[in-house]
């Protein structure tokens, strides 16, 4: 390697990017080396889609509301999975480090906690795409519904749900770091606490007043309302989009702060050396 190339490879910005990419490669290799993990990523979203597809077929014939927008329930389940997989992608990749007792090694390298968080989020995007794209494609021949017909708003829905999932994933990773393996089940359970108030399959207006206030504080409720507006009324609700983006900014700050706080607590309590399988 030439001196110039060596210098380029050790510039601070390049080093930061290399650390993030190194972690991303580490998670990607883990996935590549285990076909069962890839299968699991695809399995659940596809099964959910198939199940809700048949429910949609039934309801389309028996419900005037569903009949107005074929595929609304399939779109709902696919987008809900973006949020779920987005959160799980962050939390599970983080737990991989705990299970392999690797956090102590990582935090004695120049890797910053926020760089690790960026790598976890990037991996979450990859895992979410692996999980949801096959299910979305499968819906086309099975139910003659393509979520891609939503067009550009789909990208906005996807991005907002993914970012909300990242924020939740960072918060949960912080909790898991703080409380150890006993808190791991939160990674799979916590997001379902938000499901009733995210208005995935029904409008926010059917919730009791006090729950509506909670729903509007979640980016997910705005996304699903926006999705229904696009499918039923063929309009793009910029108000919901703006609310989702603003709320996501707040949740991302909270998620990153919770994660960084947990790392600091772990350094105070010596948790990096006392965790693992």
């Amino acid at each position: 390697m030439t001196a110039h190339a060596a210098t380029m490879w050790t510039q601070p910005a390049v080093l930061m990017l290399r650390r993030v990419l190194a972690m991303l490669v580490r998670y990607a290799l883990l996935l590549k080396n285990s076909w069962t993990r890839i299968f699991e990523l695809i399995y659940w979203p596809s099964i959910q889609m198939v199940l809700w597809g048949f429910i949609s077929v039934f309801l389309r014939q028996n419900s005037s509301w569903v009949a107005q927008a074929a595929g609304v329930l399939i779109a709902s389940v696919l987008l809900w999975d973006v949020l779920f997989r987005g959160q799980l992608g962050v939390s599970v990749s983080f737990m991989e480090e705990m299970w392999s007792r690797n956090l102590g090694h990582l935090f004695t390298t120049p890797l910053r906690p926020l760089e690790l968080a960026v790598a976890l989020m990037a991996m979450s995007l990859i895992r979410t795409l692996i999980g949801t794209i096959p299910a979305a494609l499968l819906a086309i021949p099975m139910y003659q519904f393509s979520i891609f017909t939503l067009g550009l708003p789909l990208i906005a829905f996807f991005a907002n749900l993914l970012i909300f999932g990242w924020a939740l994933g960072l918060m949960l990773s912080g909790l898991i770091l703080r409380f150890g393996q006993s808190a791991e089940s939160l990674a799979w359970l916590a997001v379902f606490l938000l499901a009733p108030v995210s208005a995935i399959y029904y409008p926010v207006e059917i919730l009791p007043g006090w729950l509506q206030a909670i729903a509007w504080a979640l980016p997910s409720a705005h996304v699903f309302e926006g999705m229904r507006a696009a499918m039923f009324d063929h309009v793009v609700r910029l108000d919901h989009l703006a609310s989702a983006v603003a709320l996501n900014a707040v949740y991302m700050v909270l998620g990153a702060a919770a994660f960084l706080f947990a790392v600091r607590v772990a350094r105070q309590r010596g948790l990096f050396l006392n965790m693992g399988e």
């Binding site: 190339a5 190194a22 480090e97 120049p110």
Partner: protein, 253 residues
Amino acid sequence: MNEAPVIEVAGLTKRFGDVLAVDGIDFTVARGSVTALLGGNGAGKTTTISMLLGLLLPTAGTMRVLGEDMVRHRYRVLPRMNFTSPYLDLPHRLTVRENLSVYGHLYGLPDVRGRVGQLARDLQLGDFIDREAGKLSAGQKTRVALAKALLNTPDLLLLDEPTASLDPDTADWVRGYLETFRKAAGASVLLASHNMGEVERLCDQVLMLRAGKIVDRGSPAALIQKYGRRNLEEVFLDIARKRGIGALDQAAQ
């Protein structure tokens, strides 16, 4: 030439609730030297090393490592340090090569492939470099951990029981390699070990820890002479069992 110590610790204290794990210790490690932390289980060796690595925040005291305040500026020195620990593993489902490559990039090495190849030759990892880390024997794991610790050719190497659970032949080989590396790279080493022969062979300075305090210090030869013992193991037992200097002789008389 910079002769400032690579480690300067003053009043270093770590408290976990009611437990005082490290109790106001002071020491320095000279550049290019090998220093041992000796003490029984729970004496505070691993806690001290963890603080020096930035993995654990001290309750009180100061630590300067390679000239930097380790609490405030650890990222300035982490690229120049490395360590091995029996309490940590490399990811089991990645191969040895994959693991070392990931860490090579985390340490920002200019030529990761070349460095991994060089360490694979030096540490004889060739037979299992493409095997998953979780499928290695204890001896192979130790060599891989050492390769990871040497990836960035550290100025300061912290080794927590580097030869624990190794057979005598492999342990001797590891010690020999560490000696060679230290001389070639001019690195400084802080070593926690229960193996007194290892400490006598490798170390310039020994810090004797008991209940979080440094209760004695000196070169292995000086400590053996001071306690009137034949080897460091006897000195260790004197200190661990709270027997004073020459107590064993007095008891014999």
